[in-house]
């Protein structure tokens, strides 16, 4: 009899434990769920708020008379636009769902930033006023729409946490019946083409990148003839120093088989794989442009051992390597060390001016001095002979030097560089140094060699390292 009671007690205990545990799990789950929902909701609310701010800030700019009010509001616009963009990134919707809203935000932000630079004194002119009016209209359209969507969501008891990443699409009936379908209407209603056209008319080139460079198209329009796979292998062999140590093969990449379906690939390069015959885990991948047969990149998959050579030597090796491959007039632009690898930016010179848009990146393994990575993309796309006149400075170094802050302790001789600012190549004197006394952080200042204007000022620390050690 006693035994029976024991058993019954045991069962009750077991059930109680399981029940208690289950209840705890359930409560935790509920809590997590609502936490997730709150975070998504917060992001969506944030988007609403920032769009609302943008609408009123754009309105304020239209009305502001005083230049300092104007400047403050323009910088607010830029800030609100970028906050709204961040909010969109935190909402669980497919990345192409709010395409034109993102487009509008980006253009508004860039435009405000540009105006802020232009109108430090003096107001905005009629043309700009027109554009701001237009942006203001669009922004209030988005604002109204988002508010309606938000109302619908709340009334329908919509929970973000119930959904996986939401793809709003006419084809996907599942989601187009939710309140979020309002986003679909928004997409149809909001047309930003008009604004793009107007912005293109007033803005100097490069402020907004209307047609971002399409690498694949640019690479397939290079000068030169089309090469075949065997030629690609020969080019790869010519490029490296010890071609006899490797076995070569082409990785076919014209057609891709995706789950039984053949899809055409658009890679503008032949890919050559070279496996070291002595060391099996050393493999080099080459991308060689199908048109023109240029080496776009080289990546050597291998472990790097203890450094045997120093940083100076590595620089000489890189320059020598490029010279063997018939690149001329080169200088080391920057050198960063990561463990036992040296990352070098090598820049072509013309008339003693560094042509920065043509930079070549190279990695040298400090154990054997091998070139383990090469990136010639920028060189291939940009390199050409610049007009001599473009490389002559109107101002002397002495005239420009006065403009550089006394707080900058130069760590390198100032030099003339051709650099790209807002899509335009500008001749500048470049000063690189540290802040006096504090001694931390390196900065780069580029001053226009013709007008004396400060074009670029930025920190150039090795930003992939942490600050504390």
């Amino acid at each position: 009899m006693k035994k029976r009671w024991l058993t019954v007690a045991g069962i009750i205990l077991a059930v109680a434990i399981a029940g208690y545990w289950g209840r705890n799990m359930y409560l935790t789950y509920q809590q997590m769920r609502s936490e997730v929902n709150n975070r998504y909701e917060n992001a969506f609310q944030g988007l609403n708020d920032h769009i609302d701010d943008l609408e009123s800030e754009l309105g304020t700019v239209l009305l502001a008379g005083a230049p300092d009010n104007l400047a403050v509001n323009l910088s607010n616009i830029w800030e609100s636009a970028s906050s709204a963009q961040e909010d969109i990134g935190e909402i669980p919707i497919a990345s192409d769902s709010l395409d034109n809203v993102k487009d509008l935000l980006q253009k508004t932000g860039q435009y405000a930033k540009h105006l802020e630079k232009e109108v430090v004194d003096g107001g905005i002119d009629e043309e700009d006023r027109e554009i701001i009016k237009e942006l203001h209209n669009k922004m209030s359209l988005v604002n109204r729409n988002l508010e309606t969507i938000h109302d619908d969501m709340e009334q329908a008891g919509f929970r973000w946490s119930d959904k996986r990443r939401v793809k709003i699409d006419q084809d996907e009936q599942r989601f187009s019946i939710t309140p979020l379908a309002g986003l679909l209407d928004l997409r149809d209603e909001l047309n930003v083409d008009n604004i793009s056209v107007k912005l293109k008319e007033v803005l100097p080139a490069g402020v907004i990148d209307f047609e971002p460079q399409d690498l694949i198209t640019s690479l397939s329009q290079l000068d030169g003839e089309e090469i075949d796979q065997n030629q690609a292998i020969e080019i790869a062999q010519d490029f490296i120093r010890n071609p006899e140590e490797y076995e070569y093969e082409i990785i076919a990449n014209e057609k891709i088989d995706i789950e039984g379906e053949t899809v055409e690939a658009h890679v503008p390069a032949h890919t050559v794989r070279a496996v070291n015959t002595a060391r099996a885990n050393e493999t080099i991948y080459f991308d060689i442009s199908k048109v023109g047969g240029k080496v776009i990149s080289l990546l050597n998959q291998r472990e790097v051992g203890q450094a045997q050579i120093d940083e100076e030597e590595a620089q000489d090796i890189a320059i020598q390597f490029l010279e063997e491959n018939e690149f001329g007039n080169l200088a080391v632009g920057s050198a960063k060390r990561f463990s036992d690898i040296m990352l070098l930016s090598i820049i072509p010179e013309q008339n003693d001016v560094l042509i920065k848009p043509d930079a070549i990146n190279i990695e040298v393994a400090l154990d054997t001095g091998d070139i383990i990575a090469y990136n010639g993309l920028d060189y291939i796309l940009n390199h050409r002979e610049r007009e001599d006149a473009r490389l002559e400075a109107d101002l002397s170094l002495e005239e420009v030097e006065e403009k550089v802050s006394n707080d900058l302790d130069l760590i390198r001789e100032p030099r003339l560089v051709l650099t790209e600012v807002d899509g335009e190549e500008i001749l500048c004197y470049e000063f690189i140094g540290r802040i006096t006394e504090e001694g931390t952080g390196s900065y780069l200042i580029q001053i226009n060699a013709n007008t004396g204007e400060e074009e670029v000022i930025k920190s150039i620390d090795q930003d992939f390292y942490k600050n504390v050690s």
Partner: protein, 159 residues
């Protein structure tokens, strides 16, 4: 009598078993590459990127690892995605290993760290791709509507 005892025991065992099963983390632990000094000298956002690259592309050829890292960089630069590395990586549902928390159970191999830095410094085997997927695992087919750039290892890269 005996039956009842057995039943109790069975119930108890099941209870304990379930508790033990669920209180364990469900993720498999990877062998960590302790003593990879280079990983810990990275800045936090680059470390996050290296973790994601490693979790997404372990077992892939080096070129494929650089390519995954390059997609992250392309997204940072794109106006359609957040403008920071962490914004891109933590975007809801963007990267499966991030969603499942797998990235915190691994320490990236030196190779993944190198791949991350290569992409960070401009190498891009994907020529501007903003998407990649494993065709064997894909559940929604909308990514296949994008222009395919290339396939490296198991991953297909698309713009």
């Amino acid at each position: 009598m005996k039956k009842l005892l057995v039943l109790t025991l069975v119930l108890l065992l099941i209870g304990i078993g379930t508790i033990a099963y669920y209180s364990q983390t469900e993720v498999e632990m990877e062998e960590s590459h302790a003593g990879t000094p280079s990983f810990w000298s990275l800045s936090p956002s680059v470390r996050l990127m290296a973790r994601t690259v490693y979790a997404e592309s372990r077992g892939e050829p080096f070129l494929g690892q650089v390519a995954v890292a390059a997609v992250i960089m392309n997204r940072v630069r794109s106006e359609d995605f957040p403008n920071t590395i962490s914004g891109v990586i933590y975007q809801p549902w963007a990267f499966t290993p991030v969603m499942h928390g797998l990235i915190w159970n691994v320490t990236p191999s030196p190779e993944a760290v190198r791949a991350t830095l290569n992409a960070y410094n401009g190498w891009d085997p994907t020529y501007g791709s903003e998407y990649f997927y494993n065709p064997a695992k894909i559940t929604s087919y909308w990514v296949t509507t994008r222009q395919t750039v290339r396939r490296i290892g198991k991953h297909v890269f698309a713009r």
